[in-house]
Subunit: 385 residues, 2 copies
């Protein structure tokens, strides 16, 4: 499991530049590895560069396999300009790290994020994996003034489709019909999903034994990074009056009266913080270059973005040391219902119940919290020499 | 009930040009009628035109009420050019009819269709009125190659939303999960709606006591004219090899392998007819000026059109004497399942079971078959002097 790619098979190759009979065998093995490599990572050091490194990179390019060169131990020695010019001339990306000191890892993550094929980036499921074939989910869909005329919002449609794609089926109800719908069933649904704004009522009417979550949590897992964005929600409690918060929305709809990003979330947050927080708003593909002035970024569910774009934003927040969450997670936290909504995701829930302690000073783990079952992703062959 | 407007309150005014005390009272009554008039129809004859007609029209224009002037009995006397010039100068539309001989009625219908406010044209419901508050519909949504990636097609989304808007709720299932979903319910759904292509399987698995219909029938009622388009489906049996059929699609998607309009429907129709029918295809807002060469028009569900545009096409087919139906109705008829699918619409079903007999030579009734309950439409005040 390697952020942001999910489960990755790293193949530490035997060394393609060995001499002798044993070396020849190893070289052949390495060539075989290339046949199943989908993203190449060549880890080397400034001093350890030769004909074999260059041939391997050219071989990967011939195979149209994306590759990134990692110069590690740059605290000891930096790569010489001639090498870098050669890489630039061949349009091969490189990053410089000092892994032992935790330097350059975000740049390495960003390179993986940029280079990985779309299949690796895109999540395997929205909700169907939590329900399973032949099983039933109940979706609570309030119809408020922001609902598009005559239709449903995209995350709701995507959730229904994802359930069908997983051979599951679903009940779609307004919050006022929830009890009636539950009463009509011989056995309870496998999962209830609600709009975050109706969470309190839905939680009260859903039997305690039925797992309950929100569309925003599903969207965070699907389009973002659930563990990171839950951590961002927890940061709400360290906000103080006067702090700046960025509210970012991926679609550029015209805000209306009770707009969730401009009215409801600021109101809830000010109540929670006990004073006026200063909110900035951005829409669409605008995203500030300098995030350092913000104490928190609250993003929409990003249903109009692809996951690569959303993960890039999360990574940029992390690089700037700014917690990032999404609308529904912020609402759930403010309403005190985050824990119940995370029960379908035990690993993330455990992190909420036992926070690492040190807050933002704590080093971020290289391995993120698992939110999909391992079998959901095809194994990915990486490459390190 | 007046095509294409639905239930209309026609107010035959007492005459605004009477003299004397009784006349004054009548004039005041007529003015009051204008206060609740939403579409004016001034029926007159070539010889019966005066200052009052002109004042009434100008009064309606001041009130921004759309109006059409009907010169009736044009078989006796035609309106003089000066009158027509005055109307044209004031941008007032007129039609010429000889109602006793059935002349000009389609032009009158078209004028009503063009002038009526959108509220009159748009149907009050897709499916929610058939299910009712607190009740359950089951929607069967097969996922085939033509389903848009990760989403649902618009009629399915619109149906779900319409049910929620009517305080109903719904089960959404693939055809393979239908039996399992039905088994999970303590009481059967009030209605089952299926994609036409899965109708046979769904009909076999749905208890005979549960009403069953198709999305295409709902769309015909919502965006078109169900009675007229069912009549069009019945015309399939009068097709012969070599006849020309127009297949019209409102969206301009790129046709794929098993395209319903280009592959499946032609295949079914050729089988039914027992020989090669010649198919022409149009997409988007293209629609041939000359329809007379066609023996049948098969239209998509028109989810991308507004109802005014679809009703205009139906009227144009009727003016050309060409039957018109939609995809799902054609499929349902070809599969022999049309009658069961029409059971939720008893008046239309009766017309199928007892066809008027004379075929296309039969005069079309001015009052179309009712497909919405009367209380669904606000009463509409028309005006005739």
């Amino acid at each position: 499991e390697f952020l942001p790619l999910g489960p990755v098979l790293f193949i530490d190759t035997a060394g393609v530049d060995d001499d002798g009979d044993l070396g020849m065998l190893r070289v052949r093995k390495t060539r075989q590895v290339l046949d199943r490599t989908e993203l190449g990572v060549l880890v080397t050091e400034a001093g350890a560069w030769g004909r074999f490194e260059e041939e391997l990179l050219l071989e990967l390019q011939r195979r149209r396999v994306p590759v990134v060169v990692v110069f590690n131990k740059v605290d000891v020695e930096v790569p010489d300009p001639e090498r870098l010019a050669w890489l630039a001339g061949h349009k091969i990306r490189h990053v410089e790290t000092a892994a032992a000191h935790g330097l350059g890892l975000d740049q390495f993550r960003q390179a993986l994020l940029d280079l990985a094929p779309a299949d690796f980036i895109n999540s395997p499921a929205i909700v169907g994996d939590l329900v399973g074939p032949g099983e039933l989910a109940l979706l609570v869909v309030p119809i408020d003034k922001e609902a598009p005329k005559g239709r449903l919002i995209l995350p709701q449609v995507q959730a229904i489709r994802d359930l069908l794609d997983h051979d599951a089926y679903c009940l779609v109800v307004k919050e006022h019909q929830l009890r009636r719908a539950l009463d009509r069933l011989k056995s309870p649904p496998r999962l209830v999903v609600t709009d975050s704004q109706a969470f309190e009522q839905v939680a009260a009417e859903t039997p305690r034994s039925v797992p309950l979550t929100s569309f925003s949590i599903l969207m965070s897992r699907f389009k973002g990074d659930l563990a990171a964005q839950v951590e961002g929600a927890l940061a709400i409690d360290s906000l103080r009056p006067g702090d700046r918060v960025l509210v970012a929305e991926s679609c550029s709809h015209h805000p209306i009266g009770e707009d969730i990003g401009r009215v409801k979330i600021p109101r809830w947050l000010n109540t929670r913080v006990g004073g006026e927080v200063r909110f900035d708003h951005v829409q669409g593909h605008d995203f500030p270059a300098d995030l350092s002035r913000y104490r928190l970024v609250i993003h929409c569910g990003a249903c109009m973005f692809n996951r690569r774009e959303m993960l890039t934003r999360i990574l940029r927040c992390q690089q700037a040391g700014v917690p990032v969450t999404n609308y529904g997670l912020a609402i759930a936290f403010s309403l005190g219902i985050l824990e119940r909504a995370l029960e379908p995701f035990p690993a993330v829930l455990a992190a909420v119940r036992n926070p690492p302690g040190g807050g933002s000073a704590q080093p971020r783990p290289l391995l993120p919290t698992r939110t999909y079952a391992p079998q959901d992703h095809a194994a990915v062959a990486g490459l390190a020499v």
